[in-house]
């Protein structure tokens, strides 16, 4: 047994820092061979639990294997399971992200088990899961089913905000089968992007299905709507709506996303968002056919016709209720009133509340109350000078240009934005590279070459990976290539 322990501890060797990725990979494979043969995970060594002897950071693989066997052995013994949960949590906080790349399936298995255990308490704390996912892949940008399961767990445990660390990361790739005929990257190498080691092959994800992706984005949008983060909500909903389909098939999830998208637009900007330029017109037509009531609602909203909106709202109450959008529709109704006041500041600098009231069709008291609320919640940059009656109080709009929040803060914001776009450039370049390795692209190249209509006919030019900033609104080449 001591031999087994020695074998477990044999990796990493002392000179691990000096190993080239290739040597590391070779050593790891040898190590794995031994580990796969080892069976005595649950037997104590020198009367000590094997898990106490292993360091989860250095000996991540044996620790993980031992953990699995212990869990299997524990059966339904609650105290033992609780103890194991603690160990698993320690493991997920400390594991070596490079080592576990070789044992994806096992890692996912334990992650799932922990997720189930964590959901049990009344106020669950699911943060260890997001920490673990981020430890494995700090960008969390390769979509795995773990993302979705975790999101579902957060929502069903009523702690949606705990999903944010994962949701806030942009998905930049889906796990794919690594292309053939291309020398495979070593798992041990330092990868800029995680899609090099999270593939369909190595067990980090179940089979990804289109509907799982749609579900992830739609649920994510729900979380952001709850957070009042309209920008992210819009992005997620548009991702659902724009997901390409075969032969213009339309998913019910897309319809649902569209309905929410319309409402989010009304809440965030006071009008519907413009349709994304790259939408599939046929899909959009079928979506709008089903989501007609929402378009009508949006029309009344944009014309700032509150009475009509109210009437539409009442008539369609059952529809909103069945769609689960009743609260949002009502909230949009309140927002409509606010926008009517906000619209006033384009024309007026100051006016008595009685005029606002007559514009709104409310009593002066109700108007004063509403406007005060709006100012308090920061929806309106204005102040109120009280008068002897509510109607005589004066509403004074401040300059519409909100003063700069301070140059320093702005600089920070700009820097963050720049960073985000730079990251995106990396993602796009990688997608470009992957695209050029697909069969379709090679065929396209062949065809172009045969016809002699390529840019220069020079292959090297087309393999150029430089990336120019896209002009917003213009199709970038990627999609053309796919369309070709």
């Amino acid at each position: 047994m001591a031999d087994a322990l020695a074998a477990m501890l044999s990796f990493p060797p002392d000179n691990v820092d000096k190993l080239s990725p290739k040597d590391y990979d070779r050593a790891m494979h040898a190590h794995m061979k031994i580990m796969d043969k080892t069976t005595q995970w649950t037997k104590p060594v020198d009367k000590q639990n094997i898990l106490d002897l292993l360091n989860p950071t250095l000996n991540s693989i044996p620790y993980l294997y031992a953990l699995i066997e212990h869990i299997k052995a524990a059966g339904k013994d609650k105290t033992r399971l609780d103890a194991l949960l603690d160990r698993a949590l320690i493991f997920f906080a400390l594991f070596d992200p490079v080592q576990v790349r070789y044992v994806g399936a096992s890692w996912v298995m334990v992650l799932g088990w922990v997720m189930d255990r964590l959901r049990a308490p009344a106020i669950p704390n699911l943060t260890p899961i997001s920490t673990a996912i981020l430890r494995l892949d700090p960008t969390a940008g390769t979509f795995t089913t773990n993302h979705l399961y975790f999101l579902r767990a957060c929502l069903s445990s009523a702690v949606p905000s705990q999903a944010l660390p994962i949701l806030d990361k942009n998905i930049y790739a889906f796990p794919t089968i690594p292309p053939k005929n291309v020398p495979e990257d070593l798992l041990s190498e330092e990868h800029e992007l995680s899609n090099a080691f999270i593939t369909t092959k190595n067990g980090f994800t179940d089979k990804v299905q289109p509907d799982l992706i749609l579900e992830y984005y739609l649920l994510g949008a729900h979380v952001y709507i709850g957070q009042r983060n309209w920008t992210r909500a819009r992005l997620f909903l548009e991702s659902v709506i724009l997901t390409p389909s075969q032969q213009h098939a339309t998913s019910a999830l897309q319809v649902e996303a569209y309905k929410k998208w319309v409402l989010v637009g009304l809440l965030a900007e006071g009008k519907s968002y413009p349709l994304p330029r790259t939408h599939d017109t046929v899909v959009m037509k079928s979506i709008r056919l089903v989501a007609k009531p929402y378009d009508v609602l949006a029309e009344a909203f944009e014309k700032r016709e509150w009475r009509k909106y109210q009437a539409e709202m009442d008539v369609g109450a059952q529809v909103w209720h069945d769609d689960g959008n009743l609260r949002m529709v009502k909230e949009a109704g309140d927002a409509l009133l606010k926008y009517r006041v906000i619209d006033l500041q384009k024309t007026f600098a100051a006016l008595p509340v009685s005029r606002v009231a007559s514009h709104m069709g409310f009593t002066a008291d109700a108007t004063l109350h509403m406007v005060t609320d709006m100012i308090r919640y920061g929806a309106l940059n204005a102040s109120i000078t009280p008068g002897s009656t509510s109607g005589e109080a004066v509403l004074r709009f401040h300059s519409t240009d909100v003063g700069p929040s301070s140059t320093v803060a702005q600089e920070g914001e700009l820097a963050a934005q720049t960073k985000r776009i730079e990251d995106l450039v990396t993602f796009v370049r990688d997608a470009d590279r992957r695209l050029q390795l697909t069969k379709e692209y090679v065929e396209h190249l062949k065809r172009v070459k045969r016809q002699g209509t390529g840019p220069d006919g020079d292959l090297a030019d087309q393999m150029d990976l430089t990336w120019d900033a896209p002009v917003p609104g213009q199709d970038d080449g990627d999609e053309d290539i796919m369309a070709a």
């Binding site: 920008t231 389909s245 790259t278 384009k346 024309t347 008595p352 003063g403 700069p404 997608a431």
Partner: protein
């Protein structure tokens, strides 16, 4: 026949506009007799009728002039219409039509038409193109002078070939027999004149004049490139641009009207008779053009353009004819808006009594005339320009500089609000203190905001594209529903084919 003629007309008689505006104009600054001496042709009685309808103090005098002028001509229909109008306005003595003259003239007209038609048939048998052309021209001119045939009450189609329409069509028939560009030019001139007549009489009968002005415009365009010799063309070009300018004005395209009229060569004033007609007398004098062009330019040009193109350009010689127009424009360019508007208002009556400027903008009584519309534009422009030099202006001082047109206490406020809402004026109103506040431009911060917005938009678009490409690359496109694959893939509606 005479009785029949009157009976057929009621539907199209000159109606008295029942709006409060009609008949309320002050007497103009000009003397009616001198003024009437500036014009001749078939438009003169129509001009006088326009004055009679809109200006009660001059109604009797102008009708008197109109009826006696008509009686010298051959147009029986116009005569009876004017008599009716006189009756409606309460001048029974003038309204009594001279039935003897009517009967005799009608008979004569008919005989003359028959004679001309017979001659034309003769020419056609002889196949001499020039004779045929002249024969057609004679008939057309006769139709124009006599007002054309009456419409057949039983046949709605006949409206299209009655009245001045008949003359227009007859002139058009000359085209096939024209052999030289000069012939074409002469025909086009007549077409322009006839179409203008059609337009004016349509306006007075409260029907749409748009098609007629459009044909004026088209013919004026043809006149510019008719292909005659250089020395002939210099006589035609002024007429073409004057006619096009008037048509633009009447169609409500004031900026085009300004551009066209400003481009009219001043030779217009000294043209005299071209192809048998003095356009200045028949359509619009150079003085009229000065007014039209000046007003349209004032309403649509920027201050700098007014200085460069109107006061400094060749249009200045037109403006010398109407010094008060020139004065108004220079007042505007030196930012003396109040004085400018006062000058314009002084001539409001004169211009409203002009047959083109005083015409309603659209068919419909409440739409106001072109003068009203132009004045409103100039006023709006003046207010905007006035405010541009202040950051805050009180409504009271605004009202002293620009006295509001109505007496309502909120007139100024309503006007300003209307301007803000239609986007003409970029300012905000402080109702409590009655102050109009110009927006402050925070260039720096707005540039920042703009940049951030663009960056966020780029980010969003990139992410969406990336998503699309990724989905396609991983082969994860939404597939067709396969029946039992769960609630997620319920295909909504008939997505495919």
């Amino acid at each position: 026949m005479a009785a029949n003629g009157i009976a057929a007309w009621p539907a199209k008689k000159m109606k008295l506009a029942r709006s409060p505006r009609s008949g309320t104009l002050q007497p103009p600054t000009f003397d009616l007799d001198t003024w009437a001496g500036n014009y001749d042709g078939a438009l003169l009685p129509l001009r006088l009728a326009h004055i009679a309808i809109h200006c009660p103090p001059l109604a009797r005098q102008s009708l008197d002039l109109a009826i006696s002028a008509t009686k010298k001509g051959k147009d029986v229909q116009l005569y009876t219409r004017l008599c009716e109008l006189a009756g409606q306005l309460g001048f029974q003595d003038l309204g009594a039509a001279d039935q003897d003259w009517v009967g005799k003239q009608e008979e004569g007209n008919k005989r003359e038409l028959g004679r001309l038609e017979g001659e034309l048939r003769g020419y056609k048998n002889n196949l001499i193109r020039e004779s045929i052309r002249m024969g057609q021209e004679d008939i057309a001119t006769h139709l124009l002078l006599t007002g054309g045939p009456l419409p057949d009450p039983a046949n709605a189609q006949s409206l299209n070939s009655s009245g001045y329409n008949a003359a227009y069509q007859a002139f058009g028939r000359m085209r096939d027999y024209c052999t030289t560009p000069t012939h074409i030019a002469s025909m086009t001139l007549r077409l322009i004149y006839t179409a203008s007549l059609q337009a004016v009489s349509a306006q007075q009968q409260h029907s749409s004049a748009l098609p007629y002005f459009n044909s004026v415009l088209a013919n004026a365009g043809r006149l510019r490139s008719v292909g005659v010799k250089e020395e002939e063309q210099v006589k035609l070009t002024p007429i073409a641009s004057a006619a096009a300018g008037i048509a633009h004005l009447s169609l409500g395209n004031y900026s085009e009207a300004a551009a066209t009229l400003l481009g009219t060569p001043f030779e217009y004033n000294t043209l005299g008779t071209v192809h048998g007609a003095d356009f200045g007398k028949a359509m619009a004098s150079a003085n009229d053009l000065a007014i039209y062009g000046g007003l349209c330019a004032l309403a649509t040009y920027t201050r700098q353009n007014l200085v460069d193109k109107v006061l400094g350009g060749k249009f200045r010689s037109f403006l010398e004819l109407e010094p008060h127009m020139r004065k108004a424009i220079s007042l505007y360019t030196t930012a003396k808006y109040q004085a400018c508007l006062a000058t314009l208002r002084h001539y409001y009556s004169d211009w409203s009594l002009d047959i083109f400027l005083g015409a309603p903008v659209a068919s419909g009584v409440r739409a106001g005339t072109h003068v009203d519309r132009l004045f409103a534009r100039i006023r709006e422009k003046s207010i905007t320009a006035y405010l541009s030099s202040f950051s805050e202006v009180s409504l009271a001082s605004l009202a002293t500089t620009f006295p509001p047109s109505s007496a309502s206490p909120t007139a100024m406020e309503d006007e300003v609000l209307g301007m803000i809402e239609s986007g003409i004026l970029d300012a905000r109103l402080d109702v409590v203190n009655g102050i109009l506040i110009a927006p402050r431009k925070e260039t720096r911060s707005s540039a920042h905001t703009e940049a951030k917005k663009t960056a966020a938009e780029v980010e969003r678009l990139l992410l969406l594209r990336l998503h699309k490409v990724n989905v396609a690359m991983a082969g994860l496109e939404i597939g067709r529903a396969k029946g039992s694959s769960g609630w997620e893939s319920l295909s909504a509606g008939n997505g495919g084919y």
